[in-house]
Amino acid sequence: MDSDDDFMSDASSNVDFLDDQGSDIESMDDFGDDIDVGFSQDKDIIGKTKKPYEVDHKVLSPEDIEREQNVQVNEVSSILGLPPESCAILLRYGRWNREKVIESYMDRPEKTLEDAGLGTNFEGAAKTEVIPGFMCDICCEDGDDLETYAMRCGHRFCVDCYRHYLGQKIREEGEASRIQCPGDSCHMIVDSKSLSLLVTEDLKDRYHTLLIRTYVDDKENLKWCPAPNCEYAVDCPVRQRELNRIVPTVQCGCKHNFCFGCTLNDHQPTPCALVKKWLKKCEDDSETANWISANTKECPKCHSTIEKNGGCNHMTCRKCKHEFCWMCMGLWSEHGTSWYNCSRFEEKSGSEARTDQARSRASLERYLHYYNRYANHEQSAKLDRDLYLKTEKKMTSLQSQSGLSWIEVQFLDTASQALQQCRQTLKWTYAFAYYLARNNLTEIFEDNQKDLELAVENLSEMFEKPVPELANLKVDILDKTAYCNKRRVILLSDTAENLKDGEWSFNVEW
């Protein structure tokens, strides 16, 4: 199977995309297992090299995650000579930093075990006992046939109370790796052996799910796929501190493209920090402030904000009674008798105030320029998505009208996917451009942006043609799809390379 072929689709992959359809569908289940193998085979056979904007990553199913955990637990267990369930606690305590855990244990075994919530006494298997004359401190039951349990800390309670306690922790509080002994201020962690002895099957499943979750949450190289109902996690070596040099878009086994850095939808070529800034800018009322600065002026003396809503240019500040001219912001007294209109445009007293005004006006216009284009692609992508839903219908009707086979009409599907992806990229190029400071490379970027935009609009237009015409346009659409993808690859490669080499400079702190 070859499902990573359309991972970051490029011209070549779309050609063999047609051949892959069958195998793609039937092997979705073991996707997680295959992706790694498929990837390396690809490299060996076709010699496909990684593009500058692509990052290495691997998709993990819940089973893979559990397997990975067990491998590490067993490894540490054989190195330290401790039981696996204790090593699991140790590793979780050390946030799965194997070397650190081993080192810390080698240096100070007793303190490490204590801190991790483990005693030092490892003898004896976990089992429940009946102790004559025992009274449970939780429920106050004291029957002679009362089954009881205690961990190595020796705090003994009846099995019923233990079970209730663990149930409460697991089901209600979502705890797994840090459940402590019910005893007062006892920090002993309930290990998996004790747990499986005490709780019912359904709770064990929940416990396992929670444990797996803490594993993924604890490790910096693992992230859950944010798509709804997706169970996969993605393993990617990109670190937080590298995010100003790389935009790590990954593709999950469920086909969802997301950024490994911030888990938002794919936002190449814009780095995470700028995405955050941009979204905040678009969302909150920072633009209100811009409106105020573009449409109002400050009193040159006391800096109160004034909006002129009609009348003459002779302003008297309500607050400080300062008299000035709205046009040139200069002193009114300098105007002599030329009331109602100001011809003193070059006067020095007003020029500073005017520059400020012009600057914020320009900045608002600049923002709106980029925002409109950003929003337009977002909107168009939405429309394209609706179109995508209709594609299948189109494909069916195309089959019946032109006598083409199912495989032969796949080009529509491919085209609509390409459109989606290119618009997503284009959209973010505008946020990118908004923050980009001019240098000798920005022109190349703008050309690439323009080319991609043109290619996308061309394809989008073809796509909307009536069904009977589509069959004749097949070759054309295929060409244009390939061209769009190629332009996208070129744009992303260029931006990614320059980002990596630190060639871009941005006009904000980030």
Partner: protein, 157 residues
């Protein structure tokens, strides 16, 4: 009710011997009890005062912590009960105490041990103040104490 036997035992013990400064006030049923506490040393903040604590037990007690807060009875009442001043006690009686959260609670704790903890929390205090943001919290809070996520960031008091 899971806690029936446990609560009856605790109640029985209440009628008998209790640590100094802690007395049983009343319980109309097993789900809600009231306790009176006073500070034993001569801390000027709490001298000659008795405070009333209300315990509410859920079905899951003692696996879950009880809900505990101070309640006030007016000065005109035959047994007046104010809300003690403390940087972790809001003026509506809600107490910010790690011990009473699900994370800090241990099922081995009892009404008696909770009373003792609160008693010593008062004894150790020297600050004549309410928690920061008290008036906002008191006027806007509609939640029950157990649903509030306190930040236990102050280990000194």
């Amino acid at each position: 009710m899971f806690a029936g036997k446990r609560l009856s035992k605790e109640l029985a013990k209440m009628q008998g011997h209790l640590p100094p400064g802690i007395t049983f006030a009343k319980s109309d049923n097993l789900e809600e009890w009231q306790m009176d506490i006073r500070v034993l040393d001569d801390n000027p903040l709490y001298q000659n005062q008795i405070y009333r604590l209300k315990f509410t037990f859920s079905q899951k007690y003692p696996i879950e912590p009880p809900e505990v807060q101070f309640i006030s009875l007016p000065a005109s009442h035959e047994t007046p009960r104010p809300i003690p001043i403390h940087p972790h006690i809001y003026s509506n009686g809600i107490i910010c105490l790690d011990l009473l959260s699900t994370a800090g609670w241990s099922p081995v704790q009892t009404v008696e041990s909770v009373c003792m903890s609160i008693q010593s929390m008062l004894t150790a205090n020297t600050r004549d103040e309410r928690p920061p943001g008290d008036s906002d919290f008191v006027s806007y809070n509609k939640r029950r104490p157990r649903d509030i996520n306190f930040q236990y960031d102050d280990d000194n008091v």
